[in-house]
Subunit: 227 residues, 2 copies
DNA sequence: GTGTCCATTTCGAGG
DNA sequence: CCTCGAAGTGGACAC
C-alpha cells in the first residue's frame, strides 16, 4: 500500500462527472491498483476513487511547473480518474501482506439458521417445511406449517423495516395463488421491529415477532460440548 | 488526520460482532474522531470502523508485554471497537484542513430531464404533463398522457430493481383513487431492468422500458450550439 | 431529528 | 461470469 499526502486536484469521469478543487489530501494506492482520495472527514467513504482492476499512468513534470505530477487512472470501461499534483508532503510505501480476513457473527443468515432450528419460538406448534423456499420473485426465508397443517411464510430481518414487510407481502400474494399451498399466513421476524413496519404489518394481517438472538443461540443443541 | 501502520487485532461489537485476527494494517483516525482500519485490498471500504461521533480511549502498556497499546473506541450507543496493538511500524499526523468539497454532475437527474424532453421514446404518442408530479406520498418522476388522454405515471431509475416497482405501485395505488386522473397506467423506465423487477412489474400490469442514455443524449436539441 | 431514497454504492452467495 | 439481496450500508434531502 502506498500512502501519499499531496496537494492535488481530482477529476472523475465515468458514470458521472465529479471534480475536486486543489487541496491537500491523502491518496491511497492499494496493491491491487485501486486508488482512493480521502479528506479529513466524512466517514470512511473517500471523496473520489477508482476500484480495481485499473491501471495507473504517472506523468512527471518539471519542478518549475505548477503541476509536478499528473496521474491518470483508467478502468476497463470508460471511467477515468485524473489526479493533478502540485506538491507532495509525504509518500510512504507499506507492505501489509494479505489480510487474514474478517469474521462476522450476528447477521441475517445466522438468525435464519437459528430460527430454522427453532421455529416454535416464532409461534408454538410451528414446524419447518423448508428454508429458502423458492418463488418466482425470490426465496422465502422460512416456509413453516402449523399443527393444523396451515402454511406460514416467515420473513427474517436483522432490523425490521417497511421494506421487509413489503417483501413478505409480495411473497404471500404470490403463494396464496398456489392451490397446493392454499391459505398462507405471514410472520415477520426481526431483532428490532420499527413502529412503522409493525403498523404496516398489522394492516396487512402479518404477525410480528421480535427475536432475541442471544437467547436463540443459547437454545442451540450444544452437541459439540457433550464430550 | 492520523495514519498509523500497526500490527493489531480488532474486535467490533455493536449491530453485529466482528473479529480481525492479529495482522499489520493501516489505522486511520480522522479529526472528527472516526476510526477506520484498512487492509491492502478490497475496495475503499475498511475492514472495520467507527463513525463519528465517537470517543477514543488509549491505554498504554509496557513494552515488555504482548500488547503495547489497546484502543477502545465507543459510540453514543452500544457500539464498541477495540484495537489491540502489538507493534507500530509508523505513525504520522497530517493536517489536511477542511476540504473544499466535491462537485458532482449526476446521471439519474439528467436521465429524468432527457425523458421529460422526449416522452415519446417511452411509448409512441406519449406527451409530458408534469415532471415531479406531487402526490401525498412523494413525487412521481413524470406524469404523462397518451394520445387518447389517459394518464401514465413514469418512474425512472438508473438501475431498475424491485424497490422501484414497489415505489411506482404505491404511486399508482394512490393516483387511481383520484377521480381527476381516472385510470392511470404505469411505466417503469431504467437503463437496466433486473429480471425479478421485470417479473414483478409484469405481474402488477406495469410496462417496462429500458432506456439508452447515450441515444437520448444524442437526441437532445443542441440549442446551446446554435450560435 | 426522523424518514425516505440514491449510490461511481461494496460485499458476498449462488446459479 | 452474472444476478441478486444485504449492509454496522453512507449520504443527501425533505418534512
Amino acid at each position: 500500500m502506498r500512502l501519499m499526502v499531496a496537494t492535488c486536484e481530482v477529476d472523475y469521469s465515468g458514470r458521472l462527472a465529479a471534480h475536486l478543487p486543489m487541496a491537500k489530501r491523502l491518496v491511497m494506492v492499494k496493491s491491487d491498483g485501486s486508488v482512493s482520495i480521502h479528506a479529513d472527514g466524512g466517514a470512511y467513504k473517500p471523496l473520489n476513487w477508482m476500484s480495481a482492476p485499473c491501471s495507473l499512468l504517472v506523468e512527471n513534470r518539471g519542478d518549475d511547473e505548477e503541476l509536478i505530477q499528473v496521474w491518470t487512472v483508467t478502468n476497463r470501461g470508460e471511467d477515468t480518474l485524473r489526479i493533478a499534483i502540485s506538491s507532495i508532503e509525504s509518500d510512504q510505501m507499506v507492505d501489509l501482506g494479505v489480510d487474514p480476513g474478517l469474521v462476522k457473527d450476528g447477521v441475517e443468515k445466522h438468525l435464519q439458521e437459528l430460527l430454522a432450528e427453532h421455529p416454535a419460538t416464532l409461534r408454538p406448534g410451528l414446524s419447518l417445511v423448508q428454508r429458502e423456499y423458492f418463488t418466482a420473485i425470490g426465496p422465502v426465508d422460512l416456509l413453516c406449517r402449523t399443527a393444523t397443517g396451515q402454511y406460514v411464510a416467515v420473513e427474517i430481518k436483522r432490523r425490521g423495516e417497511i421494506d421487509g414487510v413489503e417483501q413478505l407481502t409480495r411473497y404471500l400474494e404470490l403463494m396464496r395463488r398456489d392451490p397446493l399451498l392454499g391459505a398462507v399466513e405471514g410472520i415477520f421476524a426481526a431483532q428490532i421491529i420499527r413502529p412503522q413496519a409493525r403498523t404496516l404489518a398489522k394492516d396487512r394481517g402479518i404477525d410480528c415477532v421480535t427475536v432475541d438472538y442471544d437467547e436463540l443461540r443459547g437454545m442451540e443443541p450444544d452437541v459439540d460440548r457433550l464430550f
